[in-house]
Structure formats: C-alpha cells, structure tokens
C-alpha cells in the first residue's frame, strides 16, 4: 500500500484516495514539433527500477495534482511536492541522495 502526503492539504492519503497521473516533468511537444519529438512526448517513458518521479492527484480529497518521488522497488516515498514546478525541488533531490547515493533519473542526479 502506497501512502502519499498531499502537499496542499497535508493529508496522508491512501493510494485508493489518489489517482495516478503517470510520469512527472514531461515536456510537451505539440504542433510544429518533429515526428520524433512528438512520438517521444506521447509514448517514450522512463521505466526505472528505483528512484522515480510521478504525478498523482488527490482525487478523493482536495482534488489537486501534485508530484511524488518514490522508489519503484521498495515503494519508499522520498517526498511529495507541488505541481507548479518543472523539476524536483532541491530538498527532494537531497532527500533522495541521502537514501540512494548515486541515483539518477533522466538528466537528474
């Protein structure tokens, strides 16, 4: 069972109160982009064993979208943070480094 703390209302929400929103921090490639970039935006995803960044929605609660950093193998949650950012905040990255030294995800580490 995954429990994530919603950064907006502070509720420790059970997985069944949340809706998954897939991978975090995608950059949109829309009209005008080339086929490869558009395909990547639609279909190409990380599939890490370990540190991962995801979007979740507190759908049975305040209704807000937020981000979560967690480990896909142990379900350990490193932290949750607000949606209004295009990359994980420093505090989250430091929390991951403390637990998973040498981690990397896309171009982050």
């Amino acid at each position: 069972m995954l429990i994530l703390t919603c950064p907006y209302c502070g509720v420790r929400a059970d997985e069944t109160e949340l809706s998954p929103g897939g991978e975090a921090h995608l950059k949109r490639f829309g009209p005008g982009s080339n086929d490869e970039a558009f395909e990547g935006y639609l279909f190409v995803r990380e599939n890490p064993k370990g540190v991962h960044f995801e979007r979740w929605r507190h759908s049975y609660g305040c209704g807000k979208w937020f981000h979560a950093a967690r480990c896909t193998t142990t379900l350990e949650v490193f932290g949750t943070y607000e949606a209004q950012t295009s990359e994980p905040p420093k505090a989250i990255r430091e929390a991951i480094s403390a637990k998973r030294p040498g981690w990397s995800w896309r171009d982050l580490s």
Binding site: V11, D14, T16, E17, Y60, C62, K64
Partner: protein, 176 residues
C-alpha cells in the same frame, strides 16, 4: 436496537460551495458575515451542520447556513464580493448529510474510509474529504459523533453502507 452507533440523515440545511482566495481579508469577512464563524484552518470545520464553514481544499470551503437562508446568503456573498474573483454555488439540493452517532461511531466509519479516526489524530473539528466505500465524501467530527456529506445521487448507497457497517460493528462482520 443498536445503541453502539446510530445512522440517520440530517435534516436539509443550506450548503454553499465557495471558491476563491481564502487568505483574502475581504473573502474572510464576507464568509464570516453569512456563516457566523471565522475561516477554519486547513483540514478543519468551524461551527456545525446548519451554520458553519468547512475547509475543503486550499481554494474551497463549504459554507453551511439554514436551508431557508441559502438564497439570501448566496446573494449577500455575491454582492459583497462583486469584482473579486470567486465562485458561489448553492449545492444544498446536490448534497446530503448523514450523521453517525454513538460510542462506536468511529468504528463504523473506520470500516468504510482509509482514515485513522482515533481522537488523537481526528479530534472534534477535524474535517477530511476522503473515500467512503466507493464514493467521495467529506467527514467531520463534532461533539456527538460524525457528519458525512456526499452527493445526493449516491445518498441511498451511502445510507446502505453506513447501516451495514453499523450492523457489522454491532454483530461482528459475519453476523450472529
């Protein structure tokens, strides 16, 4: 014959969904003038069913007023806040409110919601929107038990699962 917990539907009262900047002084004043209580902090309710304010999200509260006063309350909110970016919607007939009372009220709700209802973490005045069985609800604790708001369209379902949970608490899950 249950005295461990009692489930019933509260009499109809007014419910106004309010969205806007909850930190704004103008907004706080306007809400207070119709609800008679101050803006609650996150995760709490001030007042009670029929007169109060419940915190629903960082930009939303549920304003509770007597059923007969809904029209004048929405009109007053809209008038005082004209020019301010807010939403005022009368949802009195779109929601219903159940009450769960008695010494085992928390046990009844604990069968249905993924929430720790122990008074240490869910005391009087705590409000949480959560999942009750398969539907969305807002639950808060008051002096005699809990009040549960849900969509009117699922009222029969909620009544059913609440009564069923109450019976399970009374007799044990398998009945006897």
């Amino acid at each position: 014959m249950s005295n461990v917990a009692r489930v019933f539907q509260n009499p109809a009262e007014g419910m106004i969904t309010f969205r806007g900047d909850l930190a704004s002084r103008t907004v706080k004043k306007a809400i207070r003038s119709v609800a008679g209580v101050a803006m609650p902090p996150a995760g709490e309710i001030r007042g009670e069913w029929g007169r109060g304010v419940g915190w629903m999200s960082p930009d939303e509260v549920m304003v509770l007023v007597p059923y007969a006063d809904v029209g004048s309350a929405t009109a007053r909110l809209n008038a005082t806040l004209s020019g301010t970016h807010v939403l005022v919607a009368d949802v009195s007939d779109a929601r219903v409110c159940f009450r769960v009372e008695g010494g085992q009220a928390a046990a009844v709700l604990a069968r249905l919601c993924p929430v720790d209802f122990h008074p240490d973490s869910f005391g009087v005045g705590t409000l949480r929107r959560t999942r009750l069985a398969q539907v969305a609800t807002a639950v808060w604790r008051h002096d005699t038990g809990f009040d549960v708001i849900c969509f009117r369209s699922v009222a029969d379902y909620v009544q059913g699962v609440l009564v069923n949970a109450e019976q399970s608490v009374l007799r044990g899950a398998l009945g006897s």
